[in-house]
Symmetry: C2
Subunit: 149 residues, 2 copies
DNA sequence: AAATTATAGTTGCATTTGAAACTAAATAAA
DNA sequence: TTTATTTAGTTTCAAATGCAACTATAATTT
């Protein structure tokens, strides 16, 4: 590869992903705040699977959200502090925490859904469905490529 | 949008970008370390434009790297501490710093190029050129969408 | 059964990051 | 000219993140 091509690469890939990630996170939080909702994108990304799985272990949540256990611990800490979820020790395996939504957590989940939709629309404006699918596939492939490399 | 679709979204977009970004950063640093080079992806992303622009202001670097001025200040601090760059006050406008590579900085730049290429290949493995182009376009569009929203 | 290994989750510490306030210089307005 | 405004960059403080070591429980091995 020529120097120029490498430079081109470094200026596109890392930079673009980095910047898109930052912008999205920011926009989501801003949109939430404007609706009087206090939640980070990370917290939301975990709240969804909690809602979906009903009583997931932290490990399961981590796998679902592609996050390590430390991050999950902390996000659950934050959610628990806000009384949105509770940790319930598993009846059989006492190492496991089952994480379940409180009523306030469920309420927040439903309140945030339209915020998510709004953010989604802002993000996807002008991007054809087909391109977006390719985009997501490429992201998945990149993650896979780097996980078992 | 249905609840399921929103959930689907939140579990793909944010999560995937987040995860891909983390993996890439990690892989780049690991690859660099294995070659005995001590540089973060952020630092590299700024080093490139410094090399290319020859004597860029911090503002220009920020625009080029899609980073805010605070990040640039810190990255330049780090690079300067490692004697890879120096800040030279602009002769005419004393507010501006011109950032230039030292010989060590130029050397590192050339040393890191193959690392970047290696990382690039690991990232892009199995991704058709065409999809990758779409991928980058989508990222650019997302950034644009969120910047002037 | 006792000792070993593996798993789930937490904690502590050091580094990184982000937002807002700040300094210093340049430009524009009065 | 002096005052106000904008611009480039830095600093500070609080919050987020990453890594390694740690606890507690469960599953294996001997």
């Amino acid at each position: 590869m020529t120097k120029e091509a490498s430079l081109q690469f470094h200026m596109s890939m890392g930079m673009l992903i980095n910047s898109a990630h930052r912008s999205m996170t920011k926009r989501f939080v801003t949109n939430a705040m404007e609706s009087g909702l206090d939640i980070s994108l990370d917290q939301w990304m975990v709240l969804g699977p909690i809602w979906q799985l009903e009583s997931a272990s932290q490990k399961e949540l981590g796998e679902m959200c592609l996050k390590d256990k430390i991050s999950i611990t902390r996000i659950i800490d934050a959610l628990e502090k806000k009384n949105l979820v509770v940790r319930v020790p598993d009846q059989i395996d006492h190492r496991i925490n089952r994480v379940v939504l409180t009523n306030a957590g469920k309420q927040l989940f439903y309140d945030v859904l339209p915020i998510m939709e709004k953010t989604r629309e802002e993000v996807r404006k002008d991007i054809p469905e087909q391109d977006f699918e390719i985009f997501k596939n490429v992201l998945s492939t990149i993650i896979k490529n780097l996980d078992d490399g």
